[in-house]
Point group: C2
Chain length 279, copies 2
């Protein structure tokens, strides 16, 4: 970078006109190396592939150059046996996909909490992205301790009275086991009139997972758009994630053109990576 900066300096002083050697000795850095400079990684929230089979999901993720996946239940039903779960996980792994979490998992009863932790354990993941009823949180905390599996509670904005934003999650979990945390959905956060940059900085110590997306308005009727086409301050989000030392996944949850999402997924991940590339 020193050479490059010096060059810009030269360009400014007019020394260029005198003829500077064009020897180009910058190291070759590919995008994957560039990504590797950040602690956090890109992934996909399984919901994006609602209309597709496991095989199609693998194929699309390969095209988009992304390998981390939070598995949604339509690809691996909660009622699956251990063998069925192993089979789905194996398919993903054979396709070079890393299933790092399950979710979003809703839990309305203690039985559903039990089932969710068993399900995550069978899947071999150490993270559940979920939304248990408020009253179940003490019971969920027991399970977290029993299984040593983390729970990242997902906020759903103004659509849902259950955990609208990160502040609400924080207020309900701050005194619980530190393995109970937040999956901040930056789109629902913005649709809830909140600033995801602010929330990431403020609640960063308990953010385990991030759902990345973009929206066209900061109100309930805001619609999802390709990342970069909406109003979310993506450079600010990335700066905030770096600031808190976030080392989890930024998983794209793409909910537009759900029957033909590949172009939008590719554009969104491309945009996010482009911003990541800038320092």
């Amino acid at each position: 970078m020193k050479t490059r900066r010096q060059f810009f300096k030269l360009a400014g002083t007019g020394i260029l006109a005198a003829g500077v050697s064009s020897a180009y000795s910058s190291p070759v850095i590919t995008q994957h190396q560039a990504d590797a400079r950040d602690l956090f990684k890109l992934g996909m929230a399984g919901y994006s592939f609602k209309e597709f089979t496991v095989e199609q999901t693998i194929e699309m993720m390969k095209r988009a150059g992304v390998s981390n996946l939070s598995i949604k239940d339509f690809h691996m039903p909660y009622t699956s046996t251990k063998d069925q779960i192993t089979s789905v996980i194996s398919k993903f792994r054979a396709g070079d996909i890393n299933p790092y979490a399950v979710g979003v998992v809703y839990m309305k009863t203690e039985q559903e909490v039990d089932r969710s932790f068993e399900y995550a354990k069978m899947a071999g993941v150490k993270l559940i992205v979920g939304a248990p009823e408020y009253a179940l949180l003490p019971y969920v905390e027991k399970k977290i301790k029993e299984y040593d599996i983390r729970l990242a509670i997902h906020n759903h904005g103004p659509d849902n009275p259950l955990f609208p934003n990160a502040a609400d999650i924080w207020n309900n979990i701050w005194d619980k086991d530190r393995r109970m945390g937040i999956c901040i959905d930056i789109g629902h956060t913005r649709r809830d009139g909140k600033d995801p940059v602010f929330d990431i900085l403020k609640y960063g110590s308990r953010i385990f997972d991030v759902h990345i997306k973009d929206v066209d308005k900061d109100t309930k009727d805001g619609k999802m758009v390709e990342i970069g086409r909406g109003i979310i301050d993506i450079p600010g989000v990335i700066a905030a994630l770096r600031r808190i030392g976030f080392s989890g996944m930024c998983s794209l949850e793409y909910e537009k053109d759900m029957k033909d999402p590949l172009a939008g997924i590719a554009e969104s991940l491309g945009y996010f990576r482009g911003v990541m590339q800038c320092r």
Copy 2:
């Protein structure tokens, strides 16, 4: 930005812990507004749509959210009548596409030069992206003066002895009419072992058009990849374009997966826009 910076400052000092109001008053800036802060705009080089009809091209460009096009001859043959050309141009305009140039046009004889300028005039564009034989440049200069249509000569790297890089173009045009300039292809530049950032800064005064792309190696056998997956320093390219006050088009010439290019086009434009968003 002041508020955001102050906030980061607060976050660093721990004042956040005391509880800062989360009032969010940042202005809503959409990507199109963000793009508008730059003098240059995004476009597509028609060659990207080699396998597709005019209608399919319009459809894909709409999906990718890009509207400026340099038309390639397979969509509008050089032998077209005025009516045929008007019909193609009208189709693009009706699809909200702005045909801002024709090319890449190769010119091997004076007759082909004549035909090219007449073709551009009939198309109503003020820019030809092309590659005339070296010996024809004095004749081309006459045509530029006669038609008041600019020519941006395209460099083709190590594949082609005709204009391998911007330095070679510059050496052949510096003393010609100032409407004779350069379409710098950053991919071929890099494959020719040159640094596109350096060349943009050095030859900026005559750069009229830019072909954006990425490559995986800085040698002749370098292959095209999605922008961001290769070795080209895109933040450096954008900084250089800003430095020279470039006000033309950065047109993606996408030559990978040519039978199914939409995902790669979307990812490439997304990445470029992501970098543009950062300042």
